[in-house]
Subunit: 319 residues, 2 copies
């Protein structure tokens, strides 16, 4: 049994816990033979251990100090899905420092400190994996870091923030900005505080992560020229639809060029204009592979947990 220390047990964390409970990881690996690795969530660090969670981890495994869990010798792997820079940074640093592989979905942390953490991971030879940090269930990190490793990536173009995409779509359909945001909250596509979504910062975090992998440069969220969607009005969006274009919050990065997140009027038949609601999509152009498109659920507990579970399987397979 591999003992997992789970940091955070919100929408994504409880979905990971449920996936681990189902215990189906890796039953269909390339060679189909090895028995599925058994994971067990041994400790969960949360702010309020008394709160009800949507999974069946026994109450006594809940604790409050993520850094302590990360350093506990009884933990083999750390899954960090608490979000935010602190105390996640400390917890991950302690985990890597004590030789524990880390799987994280924390785009804010990786956007800001991704280069430093990757270096820490590399120095110690301890895996730090983060497929779930960008575009939910869409395996864009693996595409860039593994699949295209023999190629030269030229350009990335993506719709990376599901909340703003949903809000823009709703505004095209007739809602005003506040109504659209309220609707996103009602459906669970937006948090109470959606500033990082609407201001483009969330998309900028993700773009910085992708650009760092694709171009091998130590970029961070601060390097992204970022403009959110707040300046767009519903009538503007509807006029654009009538002219055959759809405003979308587009994140773009080119090799050697600058990183941008900004609203762009896409032709209606552009593959990224077709995303529905909270979907994410990324177009990657490489010298030999040409242009690849990946599209799928960019958020949500269960879809994001699929990416976390894939990272956990990598940790196991290659350790």
């Amino acid at each position: 049994v591999v003992h997992v220390g789970l940091l955070g047990c919100g929408v994504v964390g409880s979905a990971v816990a449920r996936a681990i409970e189902r215990g189906t990881t890796d039953q269909r690996g390339p060679n189909g033979t090895s028995p599925p690795p058994r994971f067990e969530v041994t400790q969960v660090a949360v702010r309020d251990p008394a709160k009800r969670r949507d999974c069946s981890i026994p109450r006594h495994r809940f604790v409050t100090d993520p850094v302590k869990v990360a350093g506990d010798p009884g933990i083999d792997v750390v899954v960090e899905v608490m979000g935010g820079v602190e105390p996640a940074f400390d917890a991950i640093t302690v985990a890597l420092g004590s030789g524990k592989p880390v799987v994280t979905a924390n785009k804010e942390l990786l956007g800001t400190w991704g280069s430093e953490l990757a270096e820490h991971s590399a120095r110690g030879g301890v895996p730090l994996l983060y497929e779930a940090a960008v575009a939910g269930t869409v395996p864009i990190v693996r595409l860039l870091s593994d699949h295209l490793a023999s190629d030269r990536i030229e350009r990335i173009e993506g719709v990376l923030n599901g909340t703003s995409n949903f809000v823009l779509e709703q505004m095209e359909l007739g809602l005003d900005a506040d109504e659209a945001l309220q609707r996103a909250r009602d459906l669970g596509y937006a948090e109470a505080d959606a500033s990082r979504d609407l201001d483009g910062t969330d998309a900028a975090d993700k773009l910085a992560i992708l650009a760092r992998i694709a171009f091998g440069e130590p970029v961070s969220t601060d390097d992204v020229h970022t403009l959110g969607i707040r300046s767009l009005s519903a009538p503007d969006l509807r006029d654009a639809v009538e002219r055959g274009t759809r405003w979308r919050l587009l994140a773009t990065a080119g090799r050697g060029g600058c990183l941008r997140v900004e609203p762009v009027p896409l032709p209606a038949d552009h593959p990224l204009a077709a995303l529905r609601g909270p979907e994410s999509g990324v177009l990657v152009t490489a010298e030999r592979a040409g242009t690849l498109l990946l599209r799928g659920a960019g958020a949500g507990g269960d879809p994001t947990a699929v990416s976390v579970m894939a990272d956990l399987a990598v940790v196991l397979r290659c350790s």
Copy 2:
């Protein structure tokens, strides 16, 4: 240095040889530290060793017997890109039997004997990888076998044959079937004998491979209800476009349901109706991840070689 035995040196084989010569494999792995593994094409088996090839492998490394290369103790890994069932089957069997990992792009072989070869690979614990066998550069095999391993795949829907997709598109634009096929040949999108493309057999091979991975059942090309595109006429296709639909050769498989390859009139805004020319695209629906779309170059030497190189990197990383 890892000694590669290359079986076949046509469009894909020479692209693999060039990629190995560039030696850039895996420089951007998740942790960025390990020096790139060095591959060397030590032997190449081809029908005619005297023929000029589009790569710089020295002439003396060319031989004629693929089975002998596969069994040679000086070879560490076998890359099979010769196509066809025989002698590829024998060569791969010999390679796996002597403990050599195999990377192949051979959809015909895997469509027919995929279950048996996968079992052979599993029995001996010797990797058999075939990302390049389905949809060229599009990492659909890895999506099903690795990324969605914790999920339950419900349905696969794909346009898996670039030649027929290109031909249909050209017919929509006004060419008749023969002109469209000739154009595909001129552009290198079709072989001299395109029967397996037009009859749907090539797409059926690929669907069988994907269904076997997704649903864990030992299906083969024979299990696919297959209808090609020969019955479609240019006027029919153009009428359909005017009614807002586009005929595409669609491959579909559902869990527990039947496997089909057949022309289907897709709504113009269907993601698979938007594929351009020889592109491939696959929609995968899983219980928790939802629906994912992957799209990209479905054929061509360089794009397919990207998938071969990714498999080679996996062989190295986990051996």
